[in-house]
Symmetry: C2
C-alpha cells in the first residue's frame, strides 16, 4: 500500500498587500524544500476552496525567477475573499465539506495568509479538526497593511504601504511647494486605516533632511474635533502658506460619526460588516476651502497604498517570505491552531525573527496606536512611533521592468 | 574696461512634471560647459523674477552627484508660477522692469521651461527685445505632462506621467482582480488632461502579456454620452465581472458641461482662467453604483501622476535634459524667440533629436489626440496611439534611496 502523500494547501484572504505573494512564495519554496509532495493554492481563499477551486502551484511557478517575480507581484496571486466561516455549531455541514476536500487532496497542512478575520478561520478549522480527530495542521500567516494584529511586532504588508505613503507624501509635498508662491495652499492626504492609525502616522516618515513632511497628522484613535482642526489649520496656513495634512479615512467626531459621513456620501458595508470609507479628504478640502478661502486639494492614496509593489520595502518582502516559510516549518513540526508572528529582536541594528502564537490569543483583537505615541494635541505622532516604523521601510526590491513597466506573475488558468 | 560678463538665467513655470528639473540640469550643465559665467535661477518663474527673487545656481549645485539628484527630483526645483504677462501695449512698465533686472544681472540669455502659457512669455519678451533693441536671447524649453504642445513630437514630462499611469493602472487592476470572486466590481480611474486625452490614453499601455489593461478609455476629445456609457458598462460587467475604466478629468457632455460638474462639486478657476476639475471618477463611481447595484470605486491619480519621479521614464529624463541643453546652445549661437522641440527621428529603434521652432508658431495651440487614434465607438485608443507612446515610457533612473525613501535636491535658501 502506498504511503500517504504529504500535500499542503495555501490560501490568501482579506484585503491585498504589496507583499502577500512574498508569503506565498515563502510557503511554496519551504514546502518544496521540506519534501511536501504537492503544494496546492486555493483560489479566492476558503470561499473558492468550498467550490473546489484550487491549482497545483507547480503548474504556475516554474523557476527561481518565477519565485522572484511572485515576490514583486502585488495583490493576492491566488485571489482573495472576504468570507467568514460560520460558528461550528451553526453549520457543521460546511466544515464536513471542507474536511472532505482536504482528505481527498491528501492535505497534511493548511496555511492561510490573512488578517484578523482570516485568523478566525484558522482558529475554527483547527478547533474542528481537534474535536473531530482530523490530523491536518492549520497555520496562519499574518498579512495586513493596517498593522492592527496583536502579538506580532508588526504585520507583513505594513512596511511597504508605509514606504509608499512616505515616498508619495514627499513627492506630493514637492509638487505643492513648487507651485505656490505667496499663496495659501492646503493639501489633505487621505490614508487607509479604519480604526488603527499606523499607516496615517507613517506619513511622518516623509519628514527628512530635505522635506518638512506633513504638518498635521490625524489618527482614528483620537476623536476628531473639527473646530479645533479649523483653528489649527488657519493659524498654520497664515504662518507658512503651504500646509499638508494627513488624515485617516477613519477619523470620527465625538458623536461617533465618521468625518466622511458629513458629506452625505454613499455608505457601503462589506461582508464583515465593516463600513467602507471614502471621501474624508474631499470633504475636508471642501470644508477648509469654504472656511479659509484658499486653494485646497484632497488626495486619496486609495488602493495604490496596498498594491504599489514597485515601491515595496525589502525588509517587508523578506519578512513576508520568512513568515510564510515559518508557517510551513511549524506545520511540518506538528503545530496547529497557531499564527506565525514577527518578533523584533533588536532595534539598532534592526533584526527580526519569526515567532509563533496560539491563534486563540490573536483573532479579532485590533492593535491600535498607543495614546503616548501621539502628541498631546493629538495632531502628530511621536519620535517613538517614527523609530518603530523606520526600520520597516528600508531597502528595495527592484521591480523586473518589461517594456518599461513592472512585470507581475499572474495565474494561468487552464 | 572689463568685457561684459556672459550670464544666463533660467526659470520654471506652469504645472510641475517629474522631469522639469532634468531640463534645469541640462540648462545648467550646458551653460557651464559653454563658458557662461553665472547661471541664475529665477524663483517661481517670471513672477518671482519681478520681485527680484533669484539664486546663483552654483550655490545650489555643487557636484555631478547634485546634477543626478536634480534629475531625480520632481516638481519645480526653483518654484513655479502661473503668471501671464500682459500684452506689451497694455503694460510697458512691467517689460521695462524685466529688462532693467536683466541688464543689472548682465544676462545674455533667458531660458524658460514651461508649457503653452510659458511659451507666450518667451514670445512677448523676445518681441519686446527686438522692438526695443535689447540683445538678450529668449528661448523656451517645452514641459507639460499633458503633451498638448504643437510642433514637438511630444513634450518632456509626458512620458514619465504616462509610465506612472500605466504602472499604477497595472497595480490597481491586480488589486481589483485579486479581491473579486464571482462579484461585479467596477473601478474608475481619473486621469489628468483637461482638453487633451494623451495621458488618459496612456493607461492602455497597461495592456500587456499579463494584464488585460483598462476595458474602456474615455478621452476629453470625444463627447461623453452617459447613457451609452451606462449601457456599455452594464454589458461588460455582466460578461467579465471586473471592469476597469479610465476617464479623463475633462470629459464633457454634449451640452458642454463637464461630467464632474454633475455632482454639483465646487468649481475653481486658476490664474489662466482654466477651470480646475476634480471628482469625475467619484461621480461616475456613485452613478454606476446606483444604476447597476455593484461595488464601484473611483481612483484619482491626482498630483502623483506629475510628481512620481521614482517611476520616471529614462527616455523622458534624458530628453528633458537634452532640450534644456539645446536651448542654451541655441541662445549661445544667437537664436531668440524660439522653442526647442523634440523630433522623432526613428520609431524602431526609437531615436529622437532636439529641433527648434519659432515660438510664434507654437503658443496657445493645443495639440489634441487625433480622432483616428481613437476607436470608432470612442471608448479606446488605437494601436497607432500605443505605438506612439510606448517608446516614451522606456527605461528607468533608479531613485537615490536614503533611509528607505527617494532623496530629492531642494533649494537651500540663505
Amino acid at each position: 500500500m502506498a504511503t500517504k502523500r504529504r500535500n499542503i494547501i495555501v490560501g490568501q484572504s482579506g484585503g491585498p498587500t504589496s507583499v502577500i505573494n512574498s508569503s506565498l512564495a515563502g510557503v511554496y519554496k519551504t514546502a518544496k524544500e521540506r519534501g511536501f509532495h504537492k503544494v496546492y493554492g486555493m483560489l479566492h481563499g476558503i470561499q473558492g476552496f468550498l467550490d473546489e477551486q484550487y491549482v497545483d502551484l507547480s503548474t504556475q511557478i516554474h523557476s527561481d525567477m518565477d519565485i522572484e517575480l511572485l515576490k514583486r507581484t502585488p495583490s493576492a496571486f491566488l485571489g482573495s475573499c472576504r468570507f467568514k466561516l460560520p460558528e461550528i455549531h451553526e453549520n457543521p455541514d460546511i466544515y464536513e465539506k471542507i474536511f472532505n476536500i482536504l482528505d481527498k487532496l491528501e492535505i497534511e497542512a493548511f496555511i492561510y495568509i490573512g488578517g484578523n478575520d482570516s485568523m478566525d478561520t484558522i482558529k475554527k478549522l483547527s478547533d474542528y479538526a481537534i474535536i473531530k480527530g482530523h490530523e491536518q495542521k492549520f497555520l496562519g500567516v499574518p498579512k495586513t497593511i493596517d498593522n492592527d494584529l496583536a502579538l506580532t511586532d508588526h504585520t507583513p504588508g505594513f512596511g511597504s504601504a508605509a514606504k509608499y505613503i512616505a515616498a508619495s507624501t514627499k513627492e506630493v509635498i514637492r509638487d505643492a511647494l513648487g507651485l505656490s508662491y505667496n499663496k495659501e495652499n492646503i493639501t489633505i492626504l487621505e490614508i487607509m486605516g479604519r480604526n488603527a492609525g499606523w499607516l496615517t502616522g507613517a506619513s511622518a516618515l516623509a519628514r527628512t533632511e530635505e522635506c518638512s513632511g506633513p504638518d498635521l497628522i490625524y489618527l482614528p484613535e483620537i476623536t476628531f474635533d473639527i473646530d479645533r482642526f479649523l483653528k489649527k489649520v488657519k493659524e498654520l496656513v497664515h504662518k507658512k502658506k503651504n500646509v499638508v495634512i494627513a488624515v485617516s479615512e477613519g477619523i470620527k467626531l465625538e458623536d461617533g460619526r465618521y468625518v466622511c459621513e458629513l458629506s452625505g456620501g454613499a455608505d457601503y458595508v462589506d461582508a464583515f460588516g465593516h463600513k467602507q470609507l471614502q471621501g474624508t479628504a474631499a470633504y475636508l478640502a471642501g470644508y477648509l476651502g469654504a472656511k479659509l478661502g484658499c486653494k485646497t486639494r484632497g488626495i486619496e492614496f486609495s488602493t495604490l497604498q496596498r498594491s504599489a509593489s514597485h515601491m515595496a520595502s525589502r525588509t517587508d518582502i523578506d519578512e513576508a517570505f520568512m513568515v510564510g516559510g515559518a508557517a510551513v516549518k511549524a506545520a511540518d513540526e506538528g503545530d496547529t491552531g497557531k499564527m506565525v508572528v514577527i518578533d523584533r529582536v533588536s532595534d539598532d541594528p534592526y533584526m527580526s525573527a519569526a515567532g509563533i502564537y496560539d491563534v486563540h490569543r490573536i483573532a479579532n483583537n485590533e492593535k491600535l496606536v498607543p495614546r503616548d505615541w501621539v502628541n498631546k494635541e493629538g495632531n502628530y505622532v511621536t519620535e517613538e512611533f517614527i523609530d518603530y516604523v523606520k526600520p520597516l521601510i528600508q531597502g528595495d526590491y527592484q521591480p523586473f521592468m518589461v517594456n518599461g513597466l513592472p512585470q507581475h506573475l499572474v495565474l494561468k488558468k487552464k
